[in-house]
């Protein structure tokens, strides 16, 4: 267990935490509001209440943990982790945790398919291509095209934008949603194969 920091060191960490929060709190708020919005409609008064209660609780926790704050690291992920756990508690108290389900590991399925597709081993690449084609056939056309261009042909964001058009600012989310949909289909195919 690390030794307790000296008074001077504690005050320095506290001041650094204060400065970092003043600068970056809005980023933590954005992360919290995005998560709350998945549970509670943004137009509802309860939405603001939950965001406020979560941020207030997070702040209290952060202050209690000031001695452990590392000024050399970004405060946002550290605070965001506290915020997610605070939100968990706030929602639980409000009886809203029953709807929570564990998220499927879609990223793993996506990564596995893409890595196999670009593998140097001929057999592995061929098998992956068959699975990928079967998954792509189940996708919406616009999402399928994004996967084909970005993940299989290797286009970057600028090239992809030139190819498919649409608002540039929304491109990243379109790619992410396409990849999530692709991962979900691959995951489902795996489950179906396992059950047979």
């Amino acid at each position: 267990m690390p030794p307790d920091p000296s008074e001077d060191e504690y005050q320095a960490r506290r001041a650094a935490l204060d400065a970092a929060l003043s600068r970056d709190w809005e980023k933590v708020r954005a992360a919290v509001t995005n998560v709350v919005a998945r549970k509670i409609h943004r137009g509802s008064p309860e939405f603001h209440d939950v965001v406020h209660e979560t941020l207030g609780t997070t702040l209290e926790d952060l202050l209690k943990q000031a001695a452990k704050y590392d000024p050399d690291r970004d405060v946002v992920p550290w605070a965001a982790r506290f915020a997610m756990l605070s939100l968990s508690e706030v929602l639980r108290k409000r009886g809203r945790r029953q709807q929570v389900v564990a998220a499927a590991d879609l990223g793993e399925a996506w990564e596995s398919a893409v890595v196999s597709y670009h593998s140097l081993e001929e057999e592995r690449r061929r098998e992956a291509a068959e699975v990928i084609q079967a998954a792509l056939a189940q996708m919406k056309p616009d999402q399928r095209r994004i996967i084909e261009l970005m993940d299989l042909q290797g286009l970057n964001y600028d090239e992809l934008h030139a190819a498919i058009g649409g608002p540039r600012g929304a491109l990243r989310m379109r790619v992410l949603r396409a990849r999530s949909a692709f991962g979900a289909i691959l995951k489902r195919m795996c489950r179906e194969e396992d059950s047979q």
Binding site: P5, D18, L21, E26, A30, R42, A104, G169, A170
Partner: protein, 238 residues
């Protein structure tokens, strides 16, 4: 492999998992992903970019949802004064905090919050303190700049209110929470420095500072489900 680099894959995979956890409401997984980001600046940047994009997406959705509603409410060629449009859109009995959640808190906001906490059983108010809090429910006085206990005590006295220590602590904590969470304005970052610096000085014992002194206050020890990031990181979701 001639496709994406391992680094690209790692970031993209984490982004997919973040979105999946967000959609599922899997807060433990989100916490675990942020824990990973603590030691990975690229991952932090990716999650922050994702947050920004989601905010932009939500704003665009709200805009597109609001536009047809406004048009149908007013009708083509019909003049409707703005105040009627606003009144029609606003909930009839919305609390003031819902009407303008970003307005700086006033004495009445803090008093309302303290009353809510008392009603929820988090705080016990003596009849005198309850009457004192009630007397602030229609006061528009701004909060003091610093929210240290002596400053809050002087401020309540200047309003002609005298309450016990536990109520004063609850009042101070409610003021801190409201000040902090309502202060996101277009003008810039929240003024955390004022009230963070005004918090009680560090206790002499390192152990003592891990637990607030007054369990009655909203900032006191709260019920935890055992997943607080005190010393152990949250378990990685599988």
């Amino acid at each position: 492999m001639t496709g994406p680099t391992p680094r690209d894959l790692k970031i993209a995979r984490a982004e997919i998992d973040y979105l999946a956890a967000l959609e599922a409401g899997d807060l433990e997984k989100l916490a675990a992903l942020w824990h990973r980001a603590e030691s990975d600046p690229d991952l932090t940047a990716a999650f922050l970019g994702l947050s920004r994009d989601l905010e932009a997406e939500a704003a665009a959705e709200q805009d597109s949802a609001a536009r047809p509603a406004d048009e149908s409410a007013t009708g083509a060629g019909t003049f409707v004064p703005d105040e009627f449009v606003v009144a029609a859109a606003a909930p009839a009995f919305a609390p003031p905090s819902a009407a303008d959640p970003h307005a700086p808190p006033r004495a009445k906001d803090v008093a309302r919050r303290v009353k809510e906490e008392a009603a929820a059983g988090k705080l016990e108010l003596s009849p005198q303190d309850a009457a004192a809090v009630d007397s602030l429910l229609d006061r528009d006085d701004p909060l003091p700049d610093l929210l240290a206990m002596p400053a809050v005590k002087r401020w309540t006295e200047s309003l002609g209110v005298a309450v016990g220590k536990a109520t004063l602590l609850a009042f101070r904590d409610a003021a801190i929470t409201l000040s902090f969470t309502r202060s996101e304005t277009a003008a810039g970052p929240p003024p955390t420095a004022n009230f963070l610096a005004a918090r009680e000085a560090r206790p002499a014992s390192g152990r003592a500072r891990q637990a607030p002194a007054d369990p009655q206050s909203p900032g006191g020890p709260r019920e935890k489900s055992g997943d607080a990031p005190e010393t152990e990181p949250p378990p990685e979701a599988t």
